[in-house]
């Protein structure tokens, strides 16, 4: 590993030197082609007499070219100002070759020898290959250790049940590990290409790639079978393709333009399909598209029809295509997972009817409710479950000490209730009695089948929702008191007063107190087996919490009908599963007295996440960002805000900037601005989230932040070098700066690599540990 690192650095340095030396002689050579301006010797503008307005366009390009601090690759800051031609798609890497591009733009009559261009392109490809190789090397190194399952199993078990579609991801292990690692490795070249495209500067791209390669956090994350590498892959791919299609903006409707545009759409669908965090990149792409369209719309040289075409193309590729893909994944998901499972109770009755194995699938049950029917009652709000009771009493001090009534998400015999007339206790199933249907407005009694207690309510406060009344099971063998009487009402009554299975939405109104049976959705403590609270609410508002439907229905005296009519349409299923997922997601709330990671911990790398192993004999992997990289990122954001606002104010004041500075500040403001937007979008929304947060949620934002660091330091060093004027010194400063940053990142990676590749031995507090001096913050516990 170390060997590879040093080789890489050597390669960079070597590559930097010849390229660094290159431009100066070429500049001088080119001067000869402009005998019209002999009074402008090259050295003059090299020492900083810049931005003469009288210089013709072609000449100015050359000036800029000559003035560029030419270190590694001499990224062309002024390139933003040029009309960009012929640099689309896959050619981009070559096109960044600034020498070539400028020359082509400035003096089309003199093209450089094709051989040198090929050489440059080859060099660039080689660098990219090197970066990719290094990234793969770090990610695949010791991939099969530790052999046991890492990560908080309880956490994922829980997540698995909420994100039902993900369950099948987790049970496939070995091939997926490699898959994740390769996706994780691809992040680095993606970041490299994105930065290259945004800043046109090779050193910036290299710096970004190095930061990401040498970040222990990214490395750890992509070595394990998690969703995050996949998510990050899609996010970065979407970002890259967006940037690429932006740079094709001058050749709309060309093949590469279409390619990158639709690729953006595809990646968006992928990002959203993996995790809802993918929404943020969608917002970013959306914002970019809207501002793009706004510019096109303001361009009076384009006809409205053209603008309309642009709009349609974007709608097609960025809205219709991703949506289609997204729905298609769900369609596949529903088709694959059409078996009944433990999560059924989360879904509505209609949804369950399409799951084979569920008792509602192709079931036939009596349609209308009659006295004596045995039923289960399900709350209409998603993820509340069935009305339930069991042989346990409310504990002392919680209302009256009677039998508990709760809602329960799983199917169970204790969910069965018998519907009876309020005044008689005779068995209505006695064949001598005629069938009597239950009607809207009837006074009924619900008897729990297993315990023969009646659903009961009274003026005692409910266990959790203090303003509601308690609901209990009361009475012996069906004999209770007048507090057991409920009026049954159909909410969506169209005609007829009978109550239909599944389709009627019913309310139970307590006769004595006038309150409505509902579930508050709150989880009862241990004594209630962590089922949900059932209350009788005195507020007669119509919320889904207090509306129920009858799901199972057993009555031997009635004819069964088939339930095929219930098949919900695909959009309904889609909507419902999303509702359930969102509710489940919001339901992951931290309890008091529990340690949670706070969003402000993340950028400062305050606390890591233990992947596996606790004690000193274990094989320990600890997810923690490389502190050098992370703190550099943090510093860069502050620096960026400072320098960005200085430049923006200067431009708003109309200061006449020299063209180099203007080019650089364009890179800083536009490219950096996009990256900053990405960071903001992927970080700040977490402050608003009420759910449990983990450290690894920060990593998408961290990618953007690293790219920003690359762009910022490269630009700042160039500006610095420019202000120091002397060309050789300037070159030197830039090269030294970049190389020292690269070296710093690599060395810190050498220090911290045991975090990612695993460590055995005493904990870091112990001076004997190899990580002894590295516990820089008290809160790191490796």
């Amino acid at each position: 590993m170390l060997c590879a690192t040093s080789r890489f650095l050597a390669a960079t340095a070597l590559r930097a030197q010849p390229r660094g030396r290159g431009p100066a002689p070429r500049c001088r050579r080119r001067e000869l082609h402009f005998p019209g301006h002999p009074e402008l010797p090259l050295c003059d503008f090299l020492t900083g007499q810049l931005g003469r307005p009288s210089v013709p366009a072609g000449r100015r390009a050359i000036l800029r070219r000559g003035r560029m601090p030419p270190a590694v690759g001499g990224g062309l800051a002024g390139s933003e100002l040029r009309v960009r031609r012929g640099r689309c798609g896959s050619q981009a890497a070559r096109a960044v070759g600034p020498d070539v591009a400028v020359e082509a733009a400035a003096r089309s009559h003199k093209r450089p020898a094709p051989g040198s261009r090929h050489f440059e392109a080859a060099g660039r490809w080689a660098l990219l290959a090197l970066v990719t190789l290094l990234s793969f090397a770090t990610r695949f190194h010791r991939l099969d250790e530790p052999p046991h399952i890492c990560w908080d199993e309880t956490h994922f078990g829980k997540m698995g049940s909420y994100y039902i579609n993900r369950t099948f991801f987790f049970d496939v292990h070995p091939p997926l590990g490699k898959f994740c690692a390769s996706l994780g490795s691809l992040l680095v070249p993606f970041a490299y290409l994105t930065v290259l495209e945004l800043s046109k500067s090779l050193p910036a791209a290299l710096l970004t790639a190095a930061l990401l390669t040498f970040d222990t956090g990214c490395l750890t994350l992509s070595q394990y079978i998690l969703l995050d590498p996949i998510l990050m892959f899609f996010i970065m791919a979407a970002m890259l393709s967006m940037v690429k299609y932006n740079s094709c903006a001058d050749r709309p409707f060309s093949a590469p333009w279409w390619f990158w545009l639709s690729l953006t759409g595809i990646n968006l669908a992928g990002a959203l399909g993996v995790k809802f965090v993918g929404l943020f990149i969608i917002v970013q792409v959306g914002w970019n598209t809207i501002s793009d369209l706004w510019h096109l719309f303001g361009d009076l040289s384009l006809s409205l029809v053209t603008v309309g075409k642009h709009l349609t193309a974007r709608i097609l590729c960025l809205i219709v295509l991703p949506l289609a893909l997204y729905t298609a994944t769900y369609a596949v998901h529903f088709m694959v997972l059409n078996k009944s499972g433990p999560g059924d109770g989360f879904f509505s009755s209609a949804f369950q009817a399409r799951l084979s194995g569920n008792n509602l699938h192709n079931a036939s049950i009596p349609e209308h409710l009659a006295y004596g029917s045995v039923i289960t009652v399900k709350n209409l709000r998603m993820a509340i479950g069935y009305l339930h009771s069991h042989r346990h009493l409310y504990p002392e001090g919680v209302g009256a000490r009677q039998q508990q009534v709760t809602t329960y998400l799983h199917k169970d015999y204790n969910n069965l209730w018998i519907i009876k007339k309020h005044n008689t206790n005779s068995d209505p199933l006695d064949p001598s009695f005629p069938v009597e249907f239950v009607r809207h407005g009837d006074i009924i009694r619900l008897e729990h089948k297993e315990t023969s207690r009646n659903l009961h309510s009274h003026y005692h406060e409910a266990p959790l929702t203090r303003k509601h009344y308690q609901v209990t099971g009361y009475g012996i063998n069906g004999t209770g008191d007048s507090n057991d009487f409920w009026r049954i009402e159909v909410v969506n009554r169209k005609f007829g007063n009978r109550i239909k299975v599944l389709r009627s939405r019913i309310r139970f109104i307590h006769l004595v107190t006038g309150c409505v049976l509902g579930s508050s959705g709150k989880v009862l403590p241990k004594w209630g087996w962590e089922q949900l609270e059932v209350t009788c609410t005195p507020y007669l508002k119509e919320t889904l919490n207090s509306i129920w439907n009858v799901e199972d229905h057993i009555n031997p005296k009635l004819p069964n009908i088939s339930l095929d009519v219930l098949q919900p349409s695909f959009p309904e299923i889609l909507l419902e599963s999303h509702m359930v997922m969102i509710r489940g997601n919001n339901g992951l709330k931290p309890k008091d007295n529990e340690f949670t990671s706070k969003p402000w911990h993340w950028p400062i790398n305050y606390q890591g996440l233990r992947f596996s192993g606790i004690n000193d004999t274990d094989f320990r992997v600890y997810l923690l960002g490389n502190p050098v990289v992370w703190w550099l990122n943090l510093l860069s954001i502050a620096l960026y805000l400072l320098s960005g606002s200085i430049i923006a104010v200067a431009m708003q004041r109309g200061a006449r900037l020299p063209p180099e500075v203007e080019g650089l500040s364009q890179v800083l403001l536009r490219g950096g601005g996009q990256l900053l937007l990405g960071w903001t979008l992927h970080y700040f929304p977490f402050f608003l989230m009420g759910r449990i947060l983990y450290f690894h949620h920060y990593f998408p934002a961290m990618l953007f932040s690293s790219m920003l660091t690359g762009v910022l330091w490269d630009t700042l060093l160039r500006l610095c070098a420019w202000s120091l004027a002397s060309s050789s010194l300037a070159r030197g400063i830039h090269a030294v700066g970049i190389v020292s940053l690269l070296l710093g990142a690599a060395y810190s990676f050498y220090l911290f690599h045991p975090l990612a590749y695993g460590m055995v031995g005493p904990l870091a507090q112990d001076p004997r540990s190899p990580m002894a001096g590295l516990r820089w913050l008290e809160s790191w516990d490796f």
Partner: protein, 672 residues
């Protein structure tokens, strides 16, 4: 009033202080229990002066609406229209006539906006003149007052800041001004709009804390140090305790986190049950819990592991950060201990007990390292009340923690205390502070028990700095949550726009005269409509301008945009954030947003009349329509008046006739 300390989650203290000021001027002595809605005020309550301020603010809102529209450079007619609309809005009247804070908030919101507009208009001719400075300062003051009354005011403040920032940005781009001039402008704005509000806000809290110097009902939420700084309450007990904890000190340890309830480290004779209900075993040693009431069993003695005495030497030897101590339970003289046995309710943590030697192979592990969290130096002395400490177990490096779970009946439903070894990160539930403290003097157990029962006394006063108290109070205000998630009249933001809900404020004890918070439905509907029209027109104009087709002359375009930014923006910032809030929401939360929406209404009307009506005929037709519409609004106002003022008893039939919407909850007596 009585200078009792109280805590309110919804807002900073200015509003309550202003109400109290009214009461003070009216000679109210504060002796009235505000416990029940509908209770009669007794004779010593100067109702008139208590309600004076909100009513005044509500009344002044009307001329201010006029001024704002006028300053937005719209016609007198439009300005008059705005004022008249605010005048006949039933909900605003109801809210202003009672002792509630919304109308004051609206007043300050409008004042901030008005003074900012005045500032903009004087900016053009006479920057840095006296009136310019006056309006600039007034903007800042009004903003801070709005924030000081309710946190909702922050939204308006941010809006004003945003508009000011955009204007400042234009100022920066103005090349006719010199650099120095621009700098002066920016500095003046920064001082007036950023520094002054912060200072004012701190000032409110300063006055609040100076006035409320006695302990009151909300003491328990605050930390010991805060409580000790209030007169009465804890201060009575803790006054005169020795400051530094020494070996041999007798202390009570309070958990800093204070959730679910504030409690003290506690132990008692009873032991953990041998086998729990779920079949796991325990150490069967003496229980250690956290107990939410003062009790003699909360006393612990800090012991030096190297010595056997439980008294303080003279001079006392203070305990410092990093020292190893043992904690002896005062009444039972057992040592605080933890070991590798799962805790009763949190099985991933260690059980904490007081060690009983059963002569089995489980030796006592009762050494704790003291870790002062808020230390300034590494040799900091453990101080009463001020120091927040963690106890780190020496053998297992577990940390003494309150898990927050209630023990079952065998633990008397007290709170569980565990040794947390998994995540040694910082959490307040692991941090404890000494609340009561005295130096132990008695050698014998019997005497010591007697000593523990006697109250502490000694003399030494101690004060918390204002900033520390401010930050703690502020933090608690922002984090305190009320659990009542449902109320009979609570509503969702979506109900507000369509006025699908109301709030009954008062019902006469015998007749059916009643006061409801109920808006003028014509105004609500048309104001919402105006917002929609505004947004649509704005989009249309923007698109057309982008294609270089200017429908409006430049000055009226700027006017139109500014009016929209302030009025429609004011509505949006005061309304949309409620969708994200999780607390209980009521109709009156919408009133500030509504006021801005009403201001937008005449603006849109005038715009339609000026720019969209092409001929004179159309224009007069439109004016006639507006007049008809306004009289309609007046009629609605008149009809709803009995519910607004509550001055007339209506028959059930009339009440039923007033119930225009199913969802309105108008109280109808069954047996008249």
């Amino acid at each position: 009033m009585k200078r009792l300390f109280f805590l309110d989650g919804s807002g900073p203290p200015l509003g309550h202080m202003l109400l109290a000021l009214g009461g003070y001027l009216g000679g109210f002595d504060g002796n009235f229990l505000w416990n029940r809605i509908g209770a009669e005020y007794s004779s010593n309550v100067p109702v008139w002066s208590l309600r004076l301020l909100p009513a005044l603010a509500g009344a002044l809102s009307v001329p201010m609406a006029y001024q704002i529209v006028w300053e937005l450079r719209f016609s007198h007619c439009a300005a008059m229209g705005a004022a008249l609309l605010v005048l006949i809005e039933n909900a605003l009247i109801t809210q202003a006539r009672l002792m509630l804070l919304e109308s004051v908030l609206i007043f300050f919101n409008l004042l901030a906006m008005l003074s900012y507009l005045k500032l903009c208009n004087s900016q053009k001719h006479r920057p840095f003149s006296l009136s310019w400075w006056f309006w600039l300062t007034l903007t800042g003051v009004a903003c801070s007052c709005a924030v000081g009354i309710k946190y909702m005011g922050v939204f308006t403040y941010l809006l004003v800041l945003g508009v000011a920032a955009v204007h400042a940005w234009h100022l920066i781009g103005d090349r006719t001004l010199s650099n120095v001039c621009v700098l002066c402008h920016l500095l003046a704005r920064a001082v007036a709009l950023l520094v002054i509000p912060v200072i004012m806000y701190l000032l409110f809290f300063y006055v609040h804390l100076v006035l409320l110097c006695r302990s009151g009902p909300h003491d328990q939420i605050m930390s010991s140090a805060f409580q000790a700084s209030l007169e009465g309450g804890l201060a009575r007990i803790t006054q005169g305790q020795p400051l530094e904890v020494a070996y041999g000190s007798q202390v009570t340890l309070r958990n800093v986190f204070g959730k679910p309830v504030p409690c003290w480290l506690h132990s008692h004779q009873n032991t953990y049950p041998m086998i729990y209900e779920n079949g796991r075993g325990s150490s069967h040693q003496q229980q250690v819990t956290c107990y939410p009431f003062k009790d003699v069993n909360n006393w612990w003695i800090v012991k030096d592991p190297g010595r056997h005495q439980l008294v303080v030497n003279s001079p006392p030897r203070p305990v410092r950060h990093g020292d190893i101590v043992q904690l002896v339970h005062g009444m039972t003289t057992r040592l605080l201990n933890t070991h590798d046995v799962a805790a009763p309710l949190s099985p991933h943590s260690q059980e904490v007990s007081c060690y009983i030697d059963y002569n089995i192979s489980m030796p006592a592990q009762n050494l704790w390292r003291l870790d002062i969290v808020n230390r300034e130096s590494s040799t900091e002395v453990w101080k009463t009340i001020l120091s927040e400490v963690r106890f780190v177990h020496v053998n297992t490096s577990a940390i003494l923690k309150l898990s927050g779970a209630h023990l079952p009946d065998w633990g008397f439903r007290q709170l569980e205390v565990v040794g947390e070894k998994l995540s040694p990160g910082y959490h307040e539930s692991m941090v404890w502070n000494v609340e009561e403290h005295r130096y132990g003097r008695s050698q014998e157990q019997k005497e010591r028990e007697l000593e523990l029962h006697s109250p502490t006394q000694m003399d030494l006063s101690r004060n918390l700095s204002f900033m520390a108290r401010f930050s703690e109070l502020q933090w608690r205000m922002l984090t305190v949550r009320s659990d009542d998630s449902e109320h009979k009249y609570s509503s969702t933001p979506l109900d507000w726009v369509t006025l699908d809900t109301n709030i009954a404020y008062w019902l006469h004890p015998t007749t059916s005269a009643q006061i409801h918070l109920l808006g003028n439905i014509v105004i609500w509907a048309s104001a919402s409509l105006a917002t929609v029209v505004y947004v649509l027109l704005l989009c249309w104009y923007l698109l057309r301008r982008r294609r270089s087709i200017c429908d409006l002359p430049e000055d009226s375009w700027l006017r139109w945009v500014l009016a929209g930014a302030l009025c429609a923006g004011g509505w949006a910032v005061n309304y949309l954030p409620f969708f994200l809030m999780e607390k209980t929401l009521f109709l009156y939360h919408y009133l500030p947003a509504l006021t801005f929406q009403i201001l937008l209404l005449p603006v849109v009307l005038q715009h339609i009349s000026d720019h969209l009506c092409r001929s004179q005929l159309q224009r007069s037709l439109f004016s006639a329509l507006v007049v008809a519409w306004y009289s309609c609004a007046c009629h609605v106002f008149n009809t709803l008046r009995p519910l607004t003022y509550g001055d007339k008893s209506l028959s059930p039939g009339e009440l039923r006739a007033l119930r225009w919407k199913e969802s309105w909850d108008i109280l109808i007596r069954k047996h008249q």
